[in-house]
C-alpha cells in the first residue's frame, strides 16, 4: 500500500516547527508514525506536509524532579514503562504504556503521539475501497455520520490507552509554539469533537507531560479489555488513582466517548468511602457519564457492561493491595 504524496520537513527547533505548522494548512506532525501512517495508507488522512519531530533536541526524556515527573513528548512508550521511577511510582501509567499495541508499537510509538492519536470509528478506519461503498462520513470529509444518523456531528471514539492514566493523575501538558509556552491540564487537550479531537491552537506542539508529585504516593492502575491482548485498541480502558488513605479516588475511561473521560460523579461517590453501596452506585454513575455509541465492532451495551466490570476489578485491586 503506497502512502499518498506529501512534502517532508525535519525542523531542528520548536520555533521552526511551529512556523511550519502555522504556515502550512495541511501540515501534520509525525512522531512514531504508528497511527498517522496507517491512516494515510487508508487515505483517511492526506496531509500536504509531514513534519517529523525527530531532529528537535531534548524531546525524549524521563526526569523525576522535586515537583514531579517530567516526560518528553517524543519519549517512546517502551522508555516510559521501562523507567524505574515510573515502573515503581506510577504503575498505572506503566501499565497503560505497556498495553499499547504490540512490542513494536511500544518501541516506535511515543507518549505524545499516543495522547494525540486520531479518534477511531468502524466507518473511518477502513481502506478507501471499503469506504467507497457508502457516502463519506464527517470524519473522512463527508456530511453525515453512519453511527448516529440524526445528529450533525462526528461520533468517533477516542481510544488511546495512556490518556486515562494521565487524567486520573491530573497530569499537565506543556504546549509550545513560536509565541511561547503554556501549561494546560491533559484533560483540556481534548475537545470532545470527533472530527477534530485535539484542541491545540494553531502552531502549537505538545512537548512535555508533567505528572504532579502527589501522584507518586497512593495507588494507581490501568485495566484494558480488548479482543486480543497482543495488539488491539481497547474495547474499554479504565484507570484509577487513589490517595494513600483512599479518601480521594479518581477514575477515567477510554474508548467510551469522543474523548477520554473523567467519571467525576462516580469519583465523588467513591471518595466518601469504599463500602459496597458506594461501589454499586459508582458503577451506575459511570454509565450515566459516558456515552458509548456503536463506533466499533462491539455494541455500546457491551461497552457499558465492561465499564462496570473494569471498575469492580480496579476497586478489588485497590482494596487487596
Amino acid at each position: 500500500m503506497r502512502l499518498p504524496k506529501f512534502e517532508y520537513a525535519e525542523p531542528k527547533s520548536i520555533e521552526e516547527a511551529s512556523s511550519i505548522l502555522s504556515k502550512e494548512d495541511g501540515a501534520k506532525i509525525l512522531a512514531g508514525g504508528t497511527d498517522l501512517l496507517v491512516n494515510m495508507k487508508h487515505r483517511v488522512e492526506t496531509p500536504a506536509v509531514i513534519m517529523s519531530l525527530k531532529k528537535i533536541p531534548d524531546l525524549s526524556f524521563v526526569r523525576p524532579e522535586d515537583g514531579g515527573i517530567r516526560i518528553g513528548a517524543m519519549t517512546s512508550l517502551k522508555s516510559v514503562y521501562s523507567h524505574p521511577t515510573i515502573a515503581e511510582k506510577l504503575p498505572g501509567l506503566a501499565l497503560a504504556a505497556s498495553s499499547v499495541g504490540s512490542y513494536h508499537h511500544q518501541a516506535m510509538g511515543t507518549i505524545g503521539g499516543n495522547l494525540c492519536q486520531q479518534n477511531r470509528c468502524k466507518y473511518f478506519n477502513q481502506s478507501r475501497w471499503w469506504r467507497s461503498s457508502r457516502a463519506l462520513c464527517f470524519k473522512a470529509g463527508g456530511e453525515l455520520c453512519h453511527v448516529v444518523k440524526k445528529k450533525n456531528i462526528c461520533f468517533s471514539s477516542y481510544c488511546g490507552d495512556v490518556a486515562p492514566s494521565l487524567l486520573v493523575m491530573n497530569a499537565k501538558a506543556l504546549l509550545e509554539s513560536k509565541e511561547g509556552k503554556r501549561e494546560v491540564e491533559v484533560e483540556s487537550l481534548f475537545t470532545g469533537d470527533g472530527k477534530s479531537p485535539l484542541g491545540l491552537r494553531r502552531g502549537e506542539i505538545l512537548t512535555e507531560i508533567r505528572v504532579p508529585r502527589e501522584c507518586q504516593e497512593g495507588f494507581s492502575t490501568y485495566m484494558k479489555f480488548a479482543n486480543r491482548e497482543s495488539i488491539d485498541f481497547p474495547i474499554v480502558g479504565a484507570s484509577l488513582w487513589a490517595s494513600p488513605d483512599t479518601k480521594t479516588v479518581r477514575l477515567a475511561f477510554t474508548a467510551v466517548d469522543r474523548k477520554p473521560l473523567r467519571a467525576r460523579k462516580a469519583e465523588e461517590r467513591l471518595s466518601g468511602g469504599l463500602q459496597k453501596s458506594a461501589l454499586e452506585e459508582a458503577a451506575r454513575l459511570v454509565l450515566e457519564e459516558a456515552k458509548p455509541v456503536n463506533t466499533s465492532l462491539y455494541p455500546a451495551s457491551h461497552k457499558r457492561d465492561v465499564m462496570g466490570l473494569l471498575l469492580e476489578s480496579m476497586i478489588t485491586k485497590l482494596l487487596g493491595r
Binding site: 500500500m1 503506497r2 502512502l3 499518498p4 504524496k5 506529501f6 512534502e7 517532508y8 525535519e10 509525525l30 508514525g33 504508528t34 501512517l37 496507517v38 495508507k41 509531514i50 517529523s52 525527530k54 517512546s76 517502551k78 499495541g101 504490540s102 512490542y103 513494536h104 508499537h105 518501541a107 516506535m108 491482548e229 497482543s230 495488539i231
Partner: protein, 158 residues
C-alpha cells in the same frame, strides 16, 4: 521532491534517492534488493516487516525511509556473521520454529530485540514480545522453544 539519504543497513552505507512517501520496507525490498524483510499486512498489524532500528524492533512498513537516515538498521540478511548463522537462526532450524518461513525474519528479529533487552526472559515475556508477530503455521510453540533455548544458552555463558 526526492531526498538523497544515506541509509546504514547491516553495516553498509547506501546512498539512495527516495521520495518522502516511501516506507523503509519498500526501500529495503525494492531499492536495496533485501527481500528477507517481508511485506505482510503493510499496516503494522502482522510483524512480518520487523527490522532492528538502533537495536529496537521496528515495523518497517510504518517507518518513512527518510526518517531512517542516521539510524543503524539490521535486517535478517545482516544477522549471520562470517558465514555462520546467528544462534537464533540455528535454534529456529533445530527446533522446527518455522514452516512456510514468511513470518520467520520478523520473528527472529523481534526475538533478538527481546533477548538483547532481557538475556534470560520468562516464557511469558517471550510470548508477550512476539505477540505482534503473526504465524499461521507453527502454533508458536516451537518458536517459543527456539527463543527459550537461545535464552538458556546465553544464561549459561554468564
Amino acid at each position: 521532491m526526492k531526498h538523497s539519504v544515506a541509509l546504514s543497513v547491516n553495516g553498509d552505507t547506501y546512498d539512495v534517492l527516495i521520495s518522502p512517501n516511501e516506507t523503509l520496507l519498500d526501500v529495503l525490498r525494492e531499492k536495496l534488493g533485501l527481500m528477507g524483510t517481508k511485506k505482510g499486512c503493510d499496516l503494522g498489524a502482522c510483524g512480518a516487516c520487523t527490522v532492528l532500528v538502533d537495536g529496537e524492533a521496528y515495523l518497517s512498513c510504518l517507518m518513512l525511509a527518510v526518517n531512517a537516515a542516521g539510524r543503524k538498521i539490521v535486517t535478517i540478511e545482516g544477522l549471520a556473521q562470517g558465514g555462520e548463522l546467528h544462534p537464533l537462526q540455528k535454534a529456529f532450524i533445530e527446533k522446527g520454529g518455522l514452516q512456510c518461513g514468511f513470518c520467520t525474519p520478523g520473528m527472529i528479529l523481534t526475538a533478538k530485540a527481546a533477548l538483547d533487552e532481557e538475556a534470560v526472559p520468562t516464557e511469558a515475556s517471550i510470548r508477550r514480545k512476539i505477540a505482534g508477530n503473526l504465524c499461521r503455521c507453527t502454533g508458536y510453540k516451537k518458536i517459543v522453544e527456539a527463543v527459550s533455548s537461545v535464552a538458556a544458552l546465553s544464561g549459561k555463558e554468564d
